[in-house]
Each structure stands twice: as C-alpha cells, then as structure tokens.
C-alpha cells in the first residue's frame, strides 16, 4: 500500500495524465461530473456523488458508431475506431465500481459489444472508498462495501492522505507508472498506513449500518415472484407522480439501454450514433406498428422490474441496482427505487 498527501493529488493527476487520459470527478458550473483532467480542470473528489456516474467513461451517453457520406453518387462508410489507448478513471465509489460489473454482464457476454469491450480493456479503474456516506445511500443492501471499493486500484482518503492499493495487474502497472513519476511524494504506507485504513473502514461500515436505508428487505424480488410482482396493483399508485423524464436513468450507473439513430450533418456526412435511451420515455421501444408499452405505468414498471427481477434472474441473482442513491436525490417527483422496494419487497420493509 502506498500513500500520497492530499495536497499532492494534483501532481498525481498530472503524472497519470502525462501518460494516459485521466477521467475523474471535475467541478464545472457548480456541479461535479466525470471529466477529462486538464490543468484548467477543477478536480473534486470530496463530493460523494457525481451527478452522473462514471458510466460515461465506458459507455458514453452518445457515441458515433460510424459515419457515412454520399458524394458524387457514391456512398462511403467510415467506422469509428475502437478505443486503443489506455486511460484511467479515478475516484469511482464502490457502488459505481459494482455498476461496471453490472454493465460487463450485459456488454461483455455474447454478443460482445466491441465498443464497450475496447474501453474496458484499455481502462484502469482507481476506486475511492466513501468517507461520510449519506442518507440516500443504500449500497449495503446489495452487498456493496463502500469501505472496500475494489477495482484495479482501491484508495482511501484518511485525514490528509490518500492510501493506494493495487489489486490487479492493470492496477500494478498504473502504480508503477505513478511511482516512477512521483518518487518523493508517493511512498509506501507501511503498517501504520494499513492500520489507519482499517480504522477508517470500520468507521465507515459503522456509519453505513446506521443509514436509514441500509436495511431493506429484498426477499420478494425473486424470479418465482415475477408475475405476482408484475401484476401488483401497487404500480398503479406508484407510477402516477412520474413525469416520464429520464433523470433516474441518466444518473443511474447501471442503466444500459440505448437507442441507435442517424444524424445528417450535411457535408459532414451522416453519423450513425448510439445514445442512452430511457425506459421512462414514451418512445422507448417504439416500433413501426406502435409501442408495446402504451402507458407510463408499463414503462415505470419496466424500469424497476428490470433492476430487481429480470436482471437478477439472468445474472445469478445480481441486482442491477447498486444502491448509489442518485435517483433518490435527483428524481423531480421524489420517486425512487427505494420506495418501490419498500412497497413491493419483503415484509422486513414494514
């Protein structure tokens, strides 16, 4: 384990970004979102939750798949090059790291999404343990340990130092890179460091235990209850405040639905691109004949049934909610998955 003083973090970012693109939480216009590190960027790793998760780094909100052009009666096609340079994502919290696994299950299983796969292959994730979790956090319910975030490298901010521990090969090589660049400030943490981290972990776990949403009962979300949950009259009551905006899906680290569209840029040619879609939108899964989900109730139900029932049924019981709580704080109508779990989940929620 290594450690680096908090006030030297900019050197760390600088060192990494000299070799590889570095994405980390950046404050811009009063909000913190993942962005590319530059000398002008204002890194902000203190904010617990970025507005959007780090999902963009691997599955960007919008990406061009290929460009085509019609010129002099001929059509040419120019596919987008896959990610082929290494990059680093710094500061991902445990929930977001878990979310990447959720996405992996979708995009890396056959048929493999080559755009996503290339980014995963070249991306190194440096996670950051949570320090003061909030009341909207409910990661514990999904066995996410905010004190031990995992990924290629995991880090802890304890007091004025960042503690750094490589977990994978990619993590080791990033560590080597940093070590070489920052011989003075990036040092072995030693046993004392380990102890500090352990203490911090215990404290955080203690807090998490006390969080109001840490003890949800998910027991009823099982494949065998699918139809019962699907037909629950509770949906009728729950969906009504939903405005059908895409906030929950766009801030969600695990939502993976996308749409593929064309943009005619005139002389610049046509861009065949994919972009995040939201199951909350009325044209989600719209087909030529119409839409199989004609009401907001159906669309609303789809989102939560997918997260809590369909996805786990296909992925060895892994829920595709990671308890990050972004939807809890961002929904304009204060609707969220927790309210759904409480209403439809096991009796433990009473």
């Amino acid at each position: 384990m290594y450690q680096i003083a908090k006030n030297k973090l900019n050197d760390l970012y600088q060192a990494i970004s000299e070799k590889e693109d570095l994405f980390l939480p950046v404050s811009k216009g009063g909000q913190t979102n993942y962005g590319l590190w530059t000398n002008e960027a204002v890194a902000d790793i203190d904010t617990l939750k970025t507005v959007k998760s780090g999902k963009d780094c691997f599955f960007p909100q919008s990406e061009v798949l290929y460009k085509s052009r019609h010129e002099n009666g001929k059509i040419s096609i120019d596919p987008t090059e896959l990610q082929n340079k290494p990059f680093v994502v710094f500061g991902m919290r445990a929930c977001d790291v878990r979310a990447v696994k959720v996405l992996d299950n979708v995009f890396l299983t056959d048929p493999v999404d080559s755009y996503y796969a290339a980014r995963r292959e070249h991306g190194t994730i440096v996670s950051l343990a949570c320090h003061e979790p909030e009341e909207t956090c409910f990661c514990k319910n999904f066995d996410v340990d905010a004190a031990e975030p995992g990924a290629d490298v995991e880090t802890w901010m304890v007091g004025e130092s960042l503690y750094w521990k490589a977990l994978t090969e990619k993590g080791e090589s990033l560590t080597a890179l940093v070590k070489e660049a920052l011989a003075d400030s990036f040092a072995e943490a030693g046993a004392e460091g380990e102890k500090k981290v352990e203490k911090e972990q215990a404290a955080v776990r203690g807090i998490i235990e006390k969080l109001p949403l840490s003890h949800l009962d998910l027991s009823r979300f099982k494949p065998e209850n699918t139809m019962e949950l699907f037909d629950s009259p509770a949906w009728e009551d729950m969906y009504k405040p939903c405005l059908a905006c895409g906030t929950c899906t766009f801030v969600c680290p695990t939502c993976q639905c996308y749409d593929i569209r064309d943009f005619d840029g005139g002389k610049a040619g046509i861009r065949h691109y994919r972009c995040w879609d939201s199951c909350m939108y009325s044209d989600f899964t719209m087909m030529a004949h119409g839409n199989m989900r004609t009401s907001q109730l159906q669309r609303f139900r789809q989102r939560f049934m997918h997260k809590l029932v369909y996805y786990p049924a296909n992925n060895d019981g892994m829920y595709s909610c990671v308890g990050c709580g972004r939807c809890v704080s961002k929904c304009p109508s204060s609707l969220n998955i927790v309210k759904v779990i409480k209403k439809l989940g096991g009796e433990g929620n009473e």
């Binding site: 943009f263 840029g265 005139g266 002389k267 610049a268 861009r271």
Partner: protein, 146 residues
C-alpha cells in the same frame, strides 16, 4: 476575379416572403442591382412562416448570418403575418444576444415588391456586417463541420 480559397466566404440565408420581399429580390435582379452571391434566398409565403427553428438550423448547418425579409408592417399580403413575425424575431434575436451570439448575425428587414434598390443595399450591408463578424462559431454544430 480570382477568389482565393483562404478568403472568408460567408454563408447567408435570406428568408423572403413571396409577395413583397421575394418580388423585391426579383426586382433587384431585373434592375441588375448586384449583391454578393453569398446570399441565398428561400421563398416562404409570409415572414410569419419562418420558425425560429429554421434560423437555428441554418446556424447549426454553418450559416454565418440569417436575414428575414417581409412586407412592410401594414402591407402584409395576409394582413397581419409580419406583425407576428416581428414579435417572434425580436424576442428570438434578443435571446440569441443574451446567449452571447453576436447580434449582427440576425436581421429583419421590410422590403416591398417595389424596393429592388433596398433589397440590394440591405444585402450588401448585411454581407459586409457578416464579414466584419467573421465565421459563426458560437452557434455552430461540430457534427456539421468538415
């Protein structure tokens, strides 16, 4: 005259109402009153047919200036169309200005069917103004470049 490639050739879209301004442009033509070829005219039935969406789209697609010409207030073929256009464009232009887009890139001018001279001078002036402002970058859409 040899036009050099490096020279800035603005793209200017002029929406002209069918009854007055388009006819005014025709008159400028038949009177051989020159104005730069950068101006391309789109015929619309009335100035009130011009949707702010059209103007933004032109900028998105790389236009450097957009001008809307209609009948003089009071002379609208449809009686009141240009009055609505006047309010719409005033508010739209003010909004673009507020967003930091150079306010010289948009213009409304009332040109009657008899005002070939005015049409030509207006276009000459407008093109000169756009030359002064240079290329539109603030409302460009990178997806439409290159």
């Amino acid at each position: 005259m040899q036009v050099e490639n490096t020279e800035f050739r603005p793209k200017i879209v002029a929406f002209c109402c069918n009854w007055c301004s388009y006819a005014g442009a025709d008159l400028a033509g038949s009177s051989r009153l020159a104005y730069p070829a950068d101006v391309k005219i789109i015929r619309v039935p009335c100035s009130c047919r011009v949707n702010p969406m059209f103007i933004l789209r032109a900028f998105q697609r790389g236009a450097d200036g957009v001008i809307l010409c209609g009948c003089h207030p009071g002379d609208c073929h449809y009686t009141t169309g240009n009055y609505y256009a006047r309010r719409r464009m005033t508010l739209l232009f003010s909004m673009l200005d507020y967003l930091g887009v150079e306010n010289g890139r948009t213009r409304v001018e009332w040109v009657s069917a008899a005002e070939g001279v005015k049409f030509s001078t207006t276009m000459n002036e407008f093109v000169a103004k756009i030359h002064e402002l240079g290329e539109n970058v603030r409302l460009e859409d990178l997806r439409c470049k290159g």
